[in-house]
């Protein structure tokens, strides 16, 4: 029953699965984002307070949610690698870090563009904004630490430790608008109770969220293939696979 799970520790198996799944994830992401963009930009009604400016939600919220999701994936993979000594965990962690950092930058920049017309400023040292910036520094730290050692396995272990310790920032980012006074509005969809949006606004947002998730999965698969190749370069299965390229 658990055979499929154990197979996930096998680099050749994971390489093959990632290669097979990436185009499907990418196709799904294009469909979901296509619907989300059309419905979000042209069909959803304007917000009664923010007018058309609220449409920035369709890239800001998925970007912000992905910045937290990817960090959680990275920290989980790091924990798996450290606890069960599964090297692929380090590969997943290394592949996730640049993707997560880019989504964090996306959340910060789009949030800043949204903040200017709504708050009158591009930036404020608000708990949500500051904790999201700390998340970006954590991503940068994990990526830098991995490269800071001559021995790659030591770099992997150090980066994994930082990723695991830094995961404490994920709930801080999410609950910052509840725990402290914040300029930032409260949670819209990821919260207890029903989402505080009508369906005509919510469905495009959920579709964009799904699209971003599938896009992350696709890019992770592509990066993971590269990580596996770099880490297993001397393995026999790669030498055999190279012949068919």
């Amino acid at each position: 029953m658990w055979t499929w799970f154990y197979k996930l520790a096998s680099p050749p198996y994971v390489y093959g699965v990632a290669a097979a799944l990436a185009p499907w994830f990418l196709g799904g992401a294009a469909l979901a984002m296509g619907y989300g963009l059309v419905a979000g930009l042209a069909i959803a009604p304007p917000d009664y307070q923010q007018g058309q400016a609220f449409r920035m939600i369709y890239v800001h919220v998925p970007g912000a949610l992905l910045s937290l999701t990817v960090y959680t994936v990275m920290a989980t993979a790091s924990a798996v690698a450290l606890i069960w000594r599964i090297k692929l965990g380090h590969a997943v962690s290394a592949a996730s870090a640049p993707i997560g950092a880019s989504f964090t930058i996306l959340a910060l920049v789009t949030g800043s563009l949204w903040g200017r017309p709504m708050w009158g400023t591009y930036w404020a040292w608000d708990p949500r904004l500051t904790s999201e910036l700390i998340l970006l520094f954590l991503y940068a730290g994990v990526m830098s630490l991995r490269l800071a050692f001559e021995d790659p396995s030591r770099g992997d272990r150090a980066a994994a430790l930082l990723a695991i310790v830094g995961v404490v920032n994920v709930p801080i980012v999410h609950f910052s608008v509840v725990w402290w006074n914040s300029l930032h509005q409260g949670a819209t969809i990821v919260k207890l109770g029903a989402p505080s949006m009508p369906g005509s606004m919510l469905w495009p947002l959920l579709s964009m969220w799904l699209g971003f998730m599938l896009f992350f999965a696709a890019v992770l698969c592509i990066r993971l293939q590269g990580e596996v190749l770099n880490r297993e370069r001397q393995a026999t299965w790669i030498r055999e696979a190279v012949k068919s390229w």
Binding site: G63, G226, N230
Partner: protein
């Protein structure tokens, strides 16, 4: 449906469109850099396999 008022975004065009444009740039960069990373890794793997076959570069 897509007329002047759509592009004007109720006066928020200079915030809304850069927001979507930046998202496109981030998504495109992710895809491009991931593919570039994989291609570079494939080249390194091929080179390593060739060196293993010919014995060049091995101690």
């Amino acid at each position: 449906m897509v007329n002047g008022s759509f592009w004007a975004m109720g006066g928020y065009a200079r915030y809304v469109w850069p927001c979507f444009a930046f998202a496109c740039v981030v998504l495109a960069w992710n895809l491009w850099s991931a593919r570039r990373f994989r291609v570079a890794a494939q080249l390194r793997a091929r080179r390593a396999a060739e060196m293993a076959t010919t014995g060049v570069g091995e101690s």
